[in-house]
């Protein structure tokens, strides 16, 4: 951060930017890692670290999608079932229709984009609150996934190489000591791309501006509706990527899965320091938030903590993480 000493009297301490919070969340992550490493020798094994990363990949991608929407001041409850819907679309394209792999991938991303366009339009044009529009969309997609798939999983056995999308390791092929699964690399790629869009493109700039003061953006002559729809469409496309990821990991499109995933995604976003009231947030924070969730889950399992307590701990950490963020802002 650049020099922030304003000429006007800044009596209450030096200003610290979002960097500190990212550090806070980051130090939370470090703290968890340290605790778990000390508690179990198995925790820091390469394989377990890779397992944690792989476990982060799907939720991480969904959380990146949710980040975009939340920065505009909206919310997207449909990310989980949209992911499933896209997976099913891929299944239809590859297995039912027998088309080549790239078309399946494209199909999932297009399907996600199309659904995002619809949600965005309902929100921007019909002025239905995001909570309701995406809640309704969540249910619609859940039903449609079952309808389209005929309520049974669609397997990708006829598409050799499909499982390699998430489970293979291009990195491992080059550096055998570092077999990072492709799924993880895809998460990083999506995150990098989203971070680039947020910080370097007009879409990103409007995403922040909408969350900061939508009316001011409108009165600046900007076509607010169009950009809002674009944000939901982008988030939808990212959910399409998540759909491919989960389908590849499970070698199947599981039509019944997905509901409930939205809460994990939103939790990752919020733990990562993105404000639910919009206008601020970072993809890096979201990644850290998603990692905190997976590290917690993995660590508590490695320590064989009873499952019922895992939930309690997770709930508590979510509240504490947000409270820490609030405290920080108040004391600044």
């Amino acid at each position: 951060m650049t020099d922030t000493t304003a000429p006007i009297a800044q009596k209450s301490g030096p200003r610290v930017s979002g960097a500190l919070h990212r550090l806070l969340a980051f130090s939370g992550l470090i703290a968890l890692v340290v605790v778990f490493s000390l508690a179990s020798p198995n925790f820091m094994q390469t394989q377990n670290v890779l397992a944690i990363l792989q476990a982060t990949s799907v939720n991480g991608v969904l959380a990146v999608a949710a980040t975009l929407v939340i920065i505009t001041g909206g919310i997207d409850l449909s990310v989980g079932t949209l992911m499933t819907f896209c997976a099913v679309i891929t299944g239809v394209i590859l297995t039912y229709w027998g088309l080549p792999l790239p078309l399946g991938v494209l199909g999932a991303i297009l399907a996600g984009t199309a659904v995002g366009l619809v949600s965005g339009t309902i929100i921007a044009k019909l002025k239905v609150p995001p909570f309701i529009a995406t809640l309704g969309m969540m249910l619609i997609l859940k039903g449609l996934s079952l309808v389209i798939s005929g309520t049974r999983p669609i397997y990708f056995n006829d598409t050799p190489g499909f499982t390699q999308i998430a489970q293979g390791s291009l990195v491992g092929a080059v550096i055998p000591a570092l077999p990072i699964p492709n799924g993880v690399m895809i998460l990083f790629a999506v995150a990098l791309l989203a971070a680039f869009v947020l910080s370097r493109t007009a879409l990103g700039r409007y995403t922040f501006a909408l969350g900061s003061n939508e009316e001011a953006v409108r009165l600046s002559g900007v076509n607010v509706d169009r950009w809002k729809i674009a944000v939901y469409a982008t988030a939808g496309a990212i959910c399409g990527v998540a759909g491919i990821l989960i389908a590849s990991r499970l070698n199947s499109a599981q039509p019944a899965l997905g509901q409930g995933y939205e809460l994990d995604a939103i939790a990752a976003v919020v733990i990562g320091g993105t404000s639910l009231s919009g206008g601020r947030g970072t993809v890096l924070g979201t990644l850290i938030g998603a990692l905190i969730i997976s590290v917690l889950a993995n660590g508590l399992r490695i320590l064989s903590v009873a499952q019922e307590w895992q939930t309690v701990v997770t709930g508590t950490i979510i509240i504490l993480a947000v409270y820490a963020d609030i405290l920080r802002r108040r004391t600044l």
């Binding site: 650049t2 009297a9 879409l203 922040f208 969350g211 900007v222």
Partner: protein, 505 residues
């Protein structure tokens, strides 16, 4: 000598980036109407918010009846007999009028709200105020003036010993003001001390006993109202005698027409408004609060819907149904409320300046040219002397005047031919104000067409080449620059539909 009801000594208060009060003093006697005066941002509201428990002071002493007190919440202030009518309306729009007035003090019977008593009590207060208002209507359905009356009724209902009125008449008409003054006189005779804040000089003379003047958060002095000439009070406020210097009015009547508005209509807000604006011209819009000037500006800009009327830009009719269309047609609008409508407070200075021009900085694949934006921002930071450590400073951390300059820079960068400035100097200090005047004159000299909406007559008089006056949604007249205040006030209160156009020279 009576003990003062209230004594405030050496009050200090700072907000991040702003020193609002610095050793400010104030004293209020029982049965006195004490006017508190000062320019925008002088610290009047802040001082009174400290007295009424909204803010806690950084330093100084507050005494009630000669005894030091700590007032840390609105509740404590009310318990101590201090009530306040806030400058900004603070009403619960979904509740009824009576429910608003008695919020926190609802009459109850056996723990159950006694709605009948609530409405009866509200009705009694309205009767006392000679106000025709149904206690059971919801506040959001009321006009601003009625809402202001509800605020007044609410403050009165506390029957406090100290009543603070922060610009209570800003939205009222003459009859309502007369009623208010009758009530004030009544309260005065009952020994209530009243703090009266207003920018209307005539009111000060009519109602107040003493005047305390503040400037830049500091105490300047206290004088008896009756014996002190207005000019003296004004010079105490601004720190010098104001020379009524106005720039020589250039004749723009032969310049090409930049904007023509024909028969603009929307219900009772905008009633058949037509006017022309020429290049190089500053057209001032005067009128009382609620006259409909903002409505006209927003309708031209496409921010609100309109029911009829044509807008011609540069001799061509343009269809404007959204701000986007207006900006495309070369019209920029600086809103009267920069916090609500002007500034994306979470974004930095650079992006706020570029907000209306992002398309220009968008390269292939939607990538933004941040270097170009940086250069543009730096240019305006220099040109408007915006005080900011860098163009990456968050806009919300700037002082009000500098925020306003950022919004102005946004429209300068967009390079609109027609600029509508709605209350451009609201909440801006004297120095910044004259900088903005200079800038507006410069823009006009450069051939831009400018509309300035202002509630401050001196501002209108100082800037305008011509003056449009509105009353109740109608354009009641267009006067040449340099018209007298009386003439403007006459048109501003001209209630019958008549249009007068007097040509200059």
């Amino acid at each position: 000598m009576t003990t003062p009801l209230v004594e405030m000594l050496d009050i200090d208060k700072s907000f991040p980036g702003v020193r609002a009060l610095s050793r400010a003093c104030f004293e209020l006697l029982p049965g006195e109407v004490h006017a508190l005066m000062g320019e925008n941002g002088a610290g009047k509201s802040t001082l009174m918010k400290i007295l009424s428990g909204v803010y806690t002071r950084d330093g100084g002493t507050v005494k009630l009846d000669g005894k030091p007190v700590e007032i840390t919440s609105p509740r404590q202030a009310l318990d101590a007999g201090i009530s306040i009518i806030h400058q900004e309306l603070a009403l619960m729009r979904d509740l009824t009028v009576a429910q608003n007035i008695f919020i926190g003090r609802e009459p109850r019977r056996f723990g159950i709200l006694d709605e009948a008593a609530l409405n009866r009590d509200a009705r009694a207060i309205f009767a006392q105020m000679n106000l025709k208002l149904e206690p059971t209507v919801r506040v959001e359905t009321l006009t601003i003036a009625k809402q202001q009356m509800v605020e007044i009724a609410k403050a009165l209902s506390y029957r406090s010993r100290v009543l603070i009125m922060d610009e209570p008449t800003a939205a009222l008409n003459d009859a309502e003001i007369a009623e208010l003054f009758a009530i004030i006189n009544q309260l005065k005779s009952e020994g209530v001390g009243i703090v009266y804040i207003s920018h209307k000089m005539d009111e000060i003379k009519r109602i107040s006993d003493r005047v305390t003047v503040m400037r830049d958060g500091e105490y300047v002095g206290t004088v008896p109202a009756a014996d002190t000439p207005i000019d003296t009070i004004i010079s105490m406020m601004v720190g010098r005698t104001l020379s009524n210097e106005t720039a020589a009015i250039t004749d723009t009547s032969r310049n090409p027409v930049a904007l023509e508005v024909r028969n603009l209509r929307r219900g009772r807000d905008i009633r058949d408004v037509s006017f022309e604006l020429r290049r190089g011209e500053i057209l001032g819009f005067a009128g009382l609060m609620g006259a409909g000037r903002t409505e006209v500006a927003r309708a031209i800009f496409g921010a609100d819907r309109r029911e009829g009327g044509e807008i011609w830009v540069g001799g061509k009719r343009v269809g404007i149904s959204s701000p986007q269309d207006a900006v495309a047609a070369g019209i920029g609008y600086l809103s009267e409320d920069r916090k609500l409508f002007g500034l994306a407070t979470g974004l930095d200075v650079r992006n706020n300046i570029a907000l209306a021009s992002l398309a220009r900085f968008t390269r292939a694949a939607g990538v933004l040219d941040d270097a170009g934006m940086h250069q543009a921002a730096e240019k305006y930071i220099r040109q408007l002397s915006i005080k900011t450590p860098s163009d990456t400073q968050e806009a919300r951390l700037l002082s009000g005047g500098n925020q306003q300059k950022v919004v102005i820079a946004k429209w300068l960068l967009r390079d609109c031919d027609i600029l509508i400035f709605d209350e451009p100097t609201r909440g801006i200090d004297v120095g910044a104000k004259s900088e903005i005047y200079r800038l507006l004159n410069q823009l006009a000299a450069d051939g831009k067409a400018i509309i300035v909406i202002s509630s401050e007559l001196p501002e209108i008089l100082r800037l305008s080449h011509r003056i449009a006056v509105m009353c109740e949604g109608r354009l009641t007249g267009i006067l040449p620059g340099g018209a007298s205040q009386e003439e403007i006030m006459r048109l501003a209160t001209l209630r019958e539909p008549a249009m007068e156009v007097r040509h200059a020279g």
